[in-house]
Amino acid sequence: MRRRVVITGAGALSPLGDSPAALHRALAEGRSALKPIELFSLDGLGPRRAGEIRPFEPQAYLGDRNLRPVDRTSRLLLVAAQAALDTSGWTPEARAEREVGLVLGTTFCSIKTIAEFDRRGLQLGPSHASPLDFANSVINAAAGQAAIWHGLRGVNSTVAGGEAAGLLAIANAVDLIAAGRADALLAGGVEELCFESFVGYHKAGRLAPEDGHPVPFDARRNGFAQSEGAALLVLEAEETARQRGAAILGEVLGHASAFDPSAGEGSGAAEAVARAIRLACEEAGIGLDEIGAWSASANGGVKSDRCEALGGALAFGDRAADLPVVAIKAMLGEALGASGAFQAIDLLSSMADGILPGIAGLKTTEEGFPLGSVAAETRLADPEALRRTLVTALSADGTACALVLGRAE
């Protein structure tokens, strides 16, 4: 018997604010996270703007414990985890008594730490490479650092998956709790903005140029804008939450994922999106017509946005004409491993206040665009209509994940 999995906390550290409420406000106002990059020098390289968190002063959130062994990716995570734990009421004492774990989505963890470790060894000789950096060079380093910092003794899992990693991590955590493998888990994602990944995406032609249009679903879109941050939910078994007397913010009703093995040929990715949506609703035990809003993964990518829209249309059929769709990456940018968790957290905010952020900058969609209800302007929905909502994530490498959220009743 699968156990019900509820949401009892959320933490978000983004370039648009350091709490779910601040993020929601900024998204509703259509504010853009993009600003000139100061984290690293670009030396004349193409685009110069990204969603950089600046200023970022982790001590303001974490106190004066020694942060030296902790790199930027882990620092972002520590802050979001602190906030999520605080809102959920899982105190350090409670965490010492019962295991709380972490399932973390990321694409790169810290490719910056890894590459700098390697370059130092190359330039000065292997005996000058830093052992401290090596500890942070594994892809589960941030999850490990968060476990040490916050005393998370339960399952400690990292899920890599490009743009889908954060949502896959939440889905994985839901299954661990539903099957009784864990009672309480932090779940979400983290990604830092850094020189190495930025150069990679630029050279791969994935980033919108400096004067480009990283606007989801817009006909002029020509790539995404890179962003960063950390976002975590606290998930727990309903009975655990009730025993603790915790406030329940929402429920995960179902999820599913699918893969397109065609490497982007044909309609495989759209079919994977459609399959994930259908299966997630089936698991949630609801009809697709009960979904009140859909938070899409679209980020301005030419092909991936089209596939996601087509996939939604395949799944929803006629309903695609009037299902409200939000795409928060229009404002936030693409935070990779953290994105799906940002989407889920902001959708929870929308379910509470009915405010559906617009897709800032959206002017025209492509001919034959199959989704009828996308808007540049922020809309106010009847919260009653948002009792069940959908989040999807689609990675450019073919993984689609869908998650159905339910409002706390």
Binding site: I111, D118, F134, I148, G151, R153, A160, P261, T399
Partner: protein, 413 residues
């Protein structure tokens, strides 16, 4: 009633050879995979031995994708995946493979683990960048490096359209991936999963362990009083997992049942295990609980056994916390890292295959290079042994304080 999950095939790409039962024979024979490093110049290091896969030709295994466009870990993973399918009596190259196998592509998934993913792509980037700046660097950090491409490449090569997951839980990653696949199958999210781990030998990993002073100069001697460290290696291990019902229906040979797992975190230190073996013991106890077994029902433990002074000492502490302080209370326990070194993200997947084969064949591989054992536990020194293996436990520990134990047991006829 949750579905029972069994192992019906294994594929191994290791420093002592590649295949399935052939590699198993190599383990039982105590073969050694240590040799001077070939893939990079080690002259600036004070250690020079590694455990590289010596004879892997990507073109033999990567048939549908272009091998030259894949990182080495992806190539090794595809090799191991194909070997595992072949071992399970499944040939993905036959026309109408899915129809013939009674398998929907959407119900066939891949779960992989890794420590470093494709570190050679970082090295490629760094070499180019240091030589010629941004202009000289390519797109590899976005197009070839991200580790989730490893299961994606396996699935593209085989046409698998089900769940596709990468769990980079460092040196416990193989066990994490196998545990996740078990849950996907048990929950009915998939009918067949390829699960395991892969890692490529790299300058970065070698530099790191060298800086920690953790590398042994010649050989790996787990649980020996004079052990001098681990030896970095590379490889891939993949298991074919499916439901017992499906395996029986297609008349598959079943190696073992995947009976349970336990995951925990020390929450103590990034690179050193908990001083009292706390997290490791909790992982073992959880796994036994899920499997519904008592410690005295375990017939064999495949140890993490890296050969570093600290790991092996704390691992023994943790094992004795669960199995009792008297040496004989702990079942025979051996480490194949004494033969193939530490293959990182592949290690616990390869060792999971060892457990499944130990259960299937009632043989236990030895701990090689063991002259003066630490304590009175039976480490199966230097010689494989015939031994009834009802239940095998696979232990893995990792950077970040990760612990993962997975249990395999015999399936009734």
């Amino acid at each position: 009633m949750s579905r029972r999950i069994v192992v019906t095939g294994v594929g191994l790409v290791t420093p002592i050879g590649s295949g399935s039962r052939g590699v198993w024979d190599g383990f039982l024979a105590g073969r050694s995979g240590f040799a001077p490093i070939r893939s990079f110049d080690s002259s600036r290091f004070n250690v020079h031995v590694g455990a590289e896969v010596p004879d892997f030709e990507p073109e033999e295994h990567v048939r549908r994708l272009d091998p030259s466009r894949l990182g080495r870990a992806s190539q090794l993973a595809i090799g191991a995946a194909r070997m595992a399918l072949a071992d399970a009596g499944l040939d993905p190259d036959t026309p109408d493979f899915f129809g013939a196998a009674g398998l929907a592509p959407e119900r066939a998934g891949v779960a992989m683990g890794t420590t470093s993913g494709e570190p050679r792509e970082v090295e490629r980037f760094d070499d180019a960048f240091l030589a010629g700046g941004i202009d000289a660097a390519g797109p590899e950090l976005a197009s070839r490096y991200p580790c989730h491409l490893i299961p994606a490449h396996v699935a593209r090569e085989l046409g698998f359209a089900g769940a596709n997951v990468m769990l980079p839980a460092a040196c416990a990653a193989g066990n994490y991936a196998i545990a996740h696949a078990m849950d996907l199958l048990a929950a009915g999210r998939a009918d067949l999963m390829l699960a395991g781990g892969a890692d490529a030998f790299s300058r970065i990993t070698y530099t790191g362990f060298a800086r920690l002073g953790a590398i042994a100069p010649e050989k790996c001697q787990p649980f020996d009083r004079n052990r001098k460290g681990m030896i970095p290696g590379e490889g891939a291990g993949v298991l074919v997992l499916e439901t017992l019902e499906r395996a029986r229906a297609r008349g598959a040979r079943i190696y073992a049942e995947l009976a349970g797992y336990g995951l925990s975190c020390d929450a103590h230190h990034m690179t050193a295990a908990h001083p009292e073996g706390d997290g490791a013991a909790r992982a073992m106890s959880k796994a036994l609980g899920v499997a519904g077994l008592r410690p005295d029902q375990v017939s064999y433990i495949s140890a993490h056994g890296t050969g570093t002074p600290t790991n092996d000492r704390l691992e023994l502490l943790a094992v004795q916390k669960v199995f009792g302080p008297d040496g004989p209370a702990t079942p025979p326990m051996s480490s194949v890292k004494s033969m193939i070194g530490h293959t990182m993200g592949a290690a616990s997947a390869i060792e999971a295959a060892v457990c499944a084969l130990a259960v299937a064949t009632d043989h236990i591989p030895p701990t090689m290079n063991l002259d003066e054992p630490e304590g009175d536990i039976d480490f199966v020194p230097n010689q494989a042994r015939q031994h009834r293996v009802e239940v095998a436990m696979n232990n893995a520990y990792a950077f970040g304080g990760n612990n993962a134990s997975v249990i395999f047991r015999k399936v009734e006829a």
